[in-house]
């Protein structure tokens, strides 16, 4: 639901999202050292595979957005990672669009980058149990922010989209709960099994 297709948003929103995304991706790329490229790229591939995996929720199923987890693990490299993933999804599977690429990058990666930067120092120091709580709240928060940004992109494009934007926002509620729980348990697992995954990427080199 976070992949806005071509042909829905207005030109100012597309241009604004595109400009913000170019800046953010450039910043993210600059902060990866050349030697870290394989690590960032392979972790991004893992997240990409996870995002294609349907998690059953009762009779239906959801795809995880993973913004919070990516923000915690990848740091600012979330922007190029999401950029490449969304480009491939738009071109290969038809999810999302080309003109909306910038807006979609901002909607998914920005909450992850900001919230990830806030919580990852805490998670690095916390016990597995409290890391799980922090990561769960962060993951749920990222879904909520992505939902708000998608609704905002629609509402800014046309006043007629207002009600649709609200309805769409409501569909993010179940995803918020699922992502919060899965994100929390995931970080608790990683914290016990391979805690070095949770030290910020920039500190590896």
């Amino acid at each position: 639901m976070a992949h806005i297709p071509d042909g829905v948003l207005s030109l100012p929103v597309l241009v604004g999202g595109g400009a913000a995304a170019v800046g953010a991706v450039a910043l993210g790329l600059r902060r990866i050292s050349d030697r870290d490229i394989p690590r960032v790229a392979i972790l991004a591939s893992g997240f990409f595979a996870l995002s294609l995996f349907a998690v059953p929720v009762g009779p239906s199923s959801v795809h995880l957005l993973l913004g919070g987890l990516m923000g915690i693990v990848l740091g600012s490299a979330i922007f190029p990672a999401v950029c490449v993933a969304l480009l491939l999804q738009a071109v290969m599977f038809g999810f999302g669009g080309l003109t909306t690429l910038g807006v979609n990058i901002v909607n998914i990666a920005l909450p992850g980058a900001v919230i990830g930067a806030l919580v990852s120092p805490l998670i690095a120091r916390a016990t597995p149990a409290s890391a799980a709580v922090i990561a769960g709240l962060a993951s749920a928060g990222c879904v909520a922010c992505t939902g708000l940004l998608v609704a905002l992109a629609l509402a800014l494009s046309s006043a007629d989209y207002m009600l649709s934007a609200r309805v769409m926002l409501a569909t993010y509620l179940p995803l918020m709960v699922v992502e919060g729980l899965v994100g929390g348990f995931c970080i608790s697992f990683v914290k016990r099994v391979k805690p070095e995954l949770l030290t910020p990427l920039q500190a590896h080199a």
Partner: protein, 251 residues
């Protein structure tokens, strides 16, 4: 993963075009489709995109599959617009009224979205992802971004198989998804395990690449010059999009 065909088609086909031509042409047509304001212009763009899919030799079944997938996102918008936009009422169903303006708006969205999807499918989905990456690089995309793209193309299928294997192992141990904490814990562990495996693979690959002298650069630019067909196609696309855009404004 891509719809690229391996076979030798002899007549003019989109697969003979250079990746750069296809990226630029695809973007031009999608931009044109999105910018159309009149229904006639939108229909013309949809027809143009549809004719490209025949040139790209895309099976109708693949096309339908992809169009239906995209429309999933749109349902909310398409259902609500006719019901909520102010305008002359066409029909009344109890408390609900369908407005003409809303229906027209929904139609415009359907036409634009489908034209963009078909154009992307015809020109870009048929391109192997690796060639897409090289094309983007020779158009000036940052080298690091292209490296990440190429890695993603290489490793995403590997991790998808890994995810399937992990899930099969969970099922073999009696896991059946329900709506309870245990299920979410299992999915959390599954997600975490896949991340740990990605990290471990990343470390191995990184070491192996350093052993072979990787210093952060791949040789990327090995593109051949554009052919006559490329210039022809680009000119045709540019003229068609420009003509349609002018006609659309005059209508």
């Amino acid at each position: 993963m891509s719809l690229a065909r391996t076979g030798d088609d002899t007549f003019f086909a989109i697969e003979q075009l250079d990746p750069r031509t296809r990226i630029l042409g695809g973007c031009a047509i999608v931009l044109g489709a999105v910018a159309m304001q009149s229904h006639a212009g939108q229909i013309a763009m949809l027809l143009a995109a549809l004719s490209l899919t025949t040139l790209a030799d895309i099976k109708p079944r693949d096309m339908l599959h992809r169009l239906l997938h995209v429309e999933g996102f749109m349902i909310v918008l398409l259902v609500l617009l006719p019901l909520t936009m102010p305008g002359r009422a066409i029909a009344t169903l109890g408390p609900l009224t369908l407005s003409e303006a809303g229906l027209m708006r929904a139609l415009a969205i359907i036409l634009k979205v489908n034209a963009a999807v078909l154009a992307t499918m015809a020109l870009l989905a048929t391109l192997e992802p690796v060639r897409l990456g090289r094309g983007l690089a020779s158009l000036g995309a940052p080298a690091r971004l292209i490296h990440i793209l190429l890695f993603l193309v290489r490793y995403q299928s590997l991790f998808r198989e890994e995810a399937t294997r992990l899930m099969e192992a969970m099922r073999a141990r009696g896991f059946a998804p329900k709506l309870d904490m245990r299920t979410w814990r299992a999915y959390g562990n599954f997600t975490g395990m896949l991340l740990v495996r990605s990290m471990e693979r990343a470390e191995r690959v990184e070491e192996a690449m350093r052993c072979r002298g990787f210093s952060g650069k791949f040789p990327l630019r090995s593109t051949r010059p554009l052919q006559r067909a490329d210039y022809g196609f680009m000119t045709a696309v540019a003229l068609a999009v420009a003509a349609l855009a002018v006609w659309d404004r005059l209508l």
